[in-house]
């Protein structure tokens, strides 16, 4: 295995024909894929006669609704709300509408989940935080109410810490996928031969350390490059000039940064002001684009490539793919932002559960129990405007990973990505049952 994926636009994208064929199971799946306009109302609903209670589905979402991390958190909220809106407009999940409660996750992930369960929620979504997600998993397993995490993407979580989870799932791609996408992007832009040194500036907690470790082993395998500096500023730092100065002093060929939200903006501001782009050839960051609506034309200027996890709104292009175009215009009119990958985290988590629940009703002819929905979610596949997603037997979501060059769009008054590369899950994540670290070591 070489691990070098092809990055053409069509291997990862979806063919419209396939979509229609695959999606056309129920109107709900179609509505959530954003394809209603393409198909019309011709597909029949087999869940109509099922024995399903009338009362709405009570759902809870915990995400960062305020403060610095709200840059990502509110996108997840918008995404979840948009999916719920579409579900309810379509008549609900097997006829049941969804009531979504949103609460700030703060540091209280376990309490939030407990409170949701005590309130009688049928399903919960979130959180954004990696540490929070990890803390929650055993509690979710104890309480037995399905939680589909929007993010909290640390790779080791389902690979090593909780390989046998029953009720806990994660929709968003995990870290290894974007870290390796970053490696591949760097090699593609500079060429393996011209990468001799690299550096990292990553937030100082499990997520940042996980990303940096994966990027390091990936780039060392592919290019034999050597690490010249690795700094870990605090999450929500006030100042990163110390790290930028060190990068300037060591002049690495590539800088990797998994900084996100306010940290991403701060890093770009200080990198420009301190002339970091004179000292390095390339900055790759898996989640810089998460701050798309908070950047400016000056900031995205330079050799900066960003990932966009499992969704970039203009890939496939909105001029060719109406579900994406519809989604962007809906999000812009509703929330006045362009959707980022975290929008899809919320949208996809809700969609994963709703389509699985409907599939369960279809199979059982009645409303499913928690363990039945959980069983169906394993290996479940579904569409969103971002394309096709599967939830693996390991409870981890797998979708295409996106990476592209940061640029500015006056039309959207937001950052965009150009020359977007799409990496299929099999190219940037290990085969089932293999631990990412071992997989990369075996390249």
């Amino acid at each position: 295995m070489t691990g070098r994926p092809s990055s053409s636009n069509d291997t990862g994208g979806i063919e419209r024909r396939d979509a229609l064929k695959l999606v056309g199971g129920s109107t709900l799946a179609v509505a959530l894929a954003g394809c209603t306009a393409l198909i019309g109302d011709e597909s029949d609903d087999s869940t109509e006669d099922a024995d399903v209670p009338d009362e709405p589905i009570e759902a809870g979402l915990q995400t960062f609704t305020e403060g610095a991390p709200a840059v990502l958190g509110l996108q997840a909220q918008y995404g979840a709300e948009t999916a719920v809106r579409r579900i309810n407009d379509d008549g609900g999940v097997a006829g049941r509408e969804i009531d979504l409660d949103v609460v700030n996750e703060g540091d209280e992930h376990i309490q939030n989940y407990r409170q949701f369960v005590d309130e009688g929620k049928d399903v919960t979504f979130g959180p954004i935080s990696s540490g929070g997600h990890e803390a929650m998993v055993p509690e979710i397993e104890d309480r037995g109410v399905v939680n589909v995490a929007t993010d909290g993407t640390v790779t080791t979580l389902y690979e090593e810490s909780f390989p046998d989870a029953t009720y806990s799932f994660r929709f968003q791609n995990h870290d290894v996928m974007e870290a390796l996408a970053a490696v591949n992007q760097a090699v593609e832009v500079l060429g393996a031969d011209s990468i001799d040194t690299y550096a990292g500036i990553n937030p100082n907690y499990a997520f940042g350390q996980d990303e940096m470790a994966l990027f390091s082993s990936g780039i060392e395998k592919l290019t034999g490059a050597e690490e010249v500096y690795s700094g870990f500023p605090e999450l929500g730092a006030d100042d990163m000039s110390a790290h930028v100065t060190e990068v300037n002093g060591t002049e690495p060929d590539v800088v990797f940064s998994s900084c996100w939200g306010g940290d991403a903006t701060l890093l770009l501001e200080q990198a420009h002001a301190n002339g970091m782009f004179d000292s390095t050839d390339l900055l790759v960051g898996p989640v810089l684009y998460g701050s798309a609506n908070d950047l400016s034309a000056d900031l995205v200027d330079g050799p900066i490539y960003s990932g966009s996890r499992n969704f970039y709104w203009d890939e496939p292009g909105t001029d060719r793919w109406t579900p994406a175009a519809d989604l962007v215009s809906e999000v812009q009119s509703e929330y006045d932002v362009v959707p980022t990958a975290h929008f899809m985290s919320g949208y996809g988590a809700v969609t994963a559960w709703a389509t699985a629940a409907e599939k369960a009703v279809d199979v059982l002819g009645r409303w499913p129990e928690q363990d039945e929905i959980a069983a169906i979610l394993e290996g479940h596949g579904f569409f969103t405007p971002a394309g096709y997603h599967t939830i693996g037997a390991d409870h981890q979501g797998y979708s295409n990973a996106h990476f592209g060059e940061l640029a500015w769009s006056d039309e959207y008054d937001a950052a965009i990505l150009e020359n977007v590369s799409v990496f299929a899950p099999k190219d940037v994540s290990p085969p089932p049952g293999t631990v990412s670290g071992d997989w990369i070591d075996a390249w």
Binding site: E66, A68, P233, D239, S241, G262, E269, Q270, A273, L299
Partner: protein, 310 residues
């Protein structure tokens, strides 16, 4: 490994002056009123948000800098905007003092802590109501850096940092002048040293306390404004760690001492920035270790004068 050391030290000086501006307000309020204002960090955040609005509006009126001259004009507009933002904090601070703090001066210290904590919580939501829950960046940092300063000497260093250091020095100079040379300043100091005596010779302590609290709010807000126009953004919980760091600074310097606050801030700023790149695991601990050492060795701080402004 150490070739970047001078840069780190410079960054530390800049960071130290930011800390000084925040800590100065806290130390004045504590020195005179004897109240440890936990809401000080929120006043700092408030200043950052107000600066977002005012500076954003003002810079909308002038063109983006294209050359050195327009850059200077742009810089002047940003500074005026920041001052205006801080000025908004004067009535805010005065109101808070007159309406909330004044009734409980004779209560136990712990009730004053509880009160300022309640104000902290309320102010957070006032900001959330006015400016929303997300971080806001006024985006003038780039324009400020277009002003040529260090480039003139062949060094590549952000102009913004130079501006912060200069502004911090001016703030320090003004405060020293105010407390040393002006009549009002001397009355404030007299009140700090002996409230009853000041009242006996006809000073209205109510007025003085309001003035001092408003001044504290002003400098907190000014610090916030200076951060807001820099590389960072204004966000709701931004006041937390500067508040805790301000405690450290004023304790190291000596409670109530302005010179102490400056030295303490520079000490914390430079040490943190110099240690971070080499031993990044110490970044968070450095200020507190400094504080523990100073308190255990010299409990009154480096320039300690209990309850006096000096």
């Amino acid at each position: 490994m150490f070739e970047s050391l001078p840069y780190h030290a410079l960054n530390g000086v800049y960071y130290g002056f930011i800390l000084f501006m925040i800590a100065a307000g806290l130390t004045i309020v504590f020195g005179v009123l004897g109240v440890l204002n936990l809401a000080h960090g929120e006043l700092y955040a408030f200043g950052a948000f107000v600066a977002f609005s005012i500076v954003g509006y003002l810079t909308g009126l002038v063109a983006e800098p294209t050359g050195p001259v327009t850059a200077l004009i742009f810089g002047a507009v940003v500074l005026v905007g920041s001052l205006a933002a801080a000025a908004v904090l004067l009535p805010v601070g005065a109101t808070l003092e007159a309406a909330f703090v004044r009734p409980i001066y004779d209560r136990d210290d712990v009730y004053q802590l509880l009160l300022t904590y309640a104000l902290l919580l309320i102010l957070t939501d006032v900001m959330k109501f006015v400016w929303g829950a997300k971080p806001l960046d006024v985006g003038v940092y780039d324009g400020l850096n277009a002003i040529p300063t260090t480039e003139l000497f062949g060094i590549d260093y952000p102009t913004y940092n130079v501006v912060v250091v200069a502004v911090g020095l001016v703030v320090f100079g003004w405060l020293v002048w105010f407390f040393d040379r002006t009549k009002t300043g001397r009355i404030v100091r007299a009140t700090a040293i002996d409230r009853e005596m000041a009242t006996a010779i006809g000073v209205s302590t109510d007025r003085i306390f309001t003035l001092v609290f408003a001044m504290g709010a002003f400098f907190a807000g000014f610090g916030g404004a200076m951060v807001s126009i820099g590389p960072g953004s204004a966000y709701l919980e931004m006041g937390l760690s500067p508040l805790v760091l301000s405690f450290v600074v004023i304790v190291i310097g000596g409670l109530g001492s302005l010179r102490g606050a400056l030295v303490g801030a520079l000490l914390v700023g430079v040490t943190t920035q110099v240690v971070t790149p080499y031993y990044s695991e110490l970044e968070l601990a450095v200020p507190f270790v400094l504080m523990v050492v100073v308190l255990l060795v010299r409990p009154e701080g480096l320039y300690g004068t209990w309850g006096e402004i000096e």
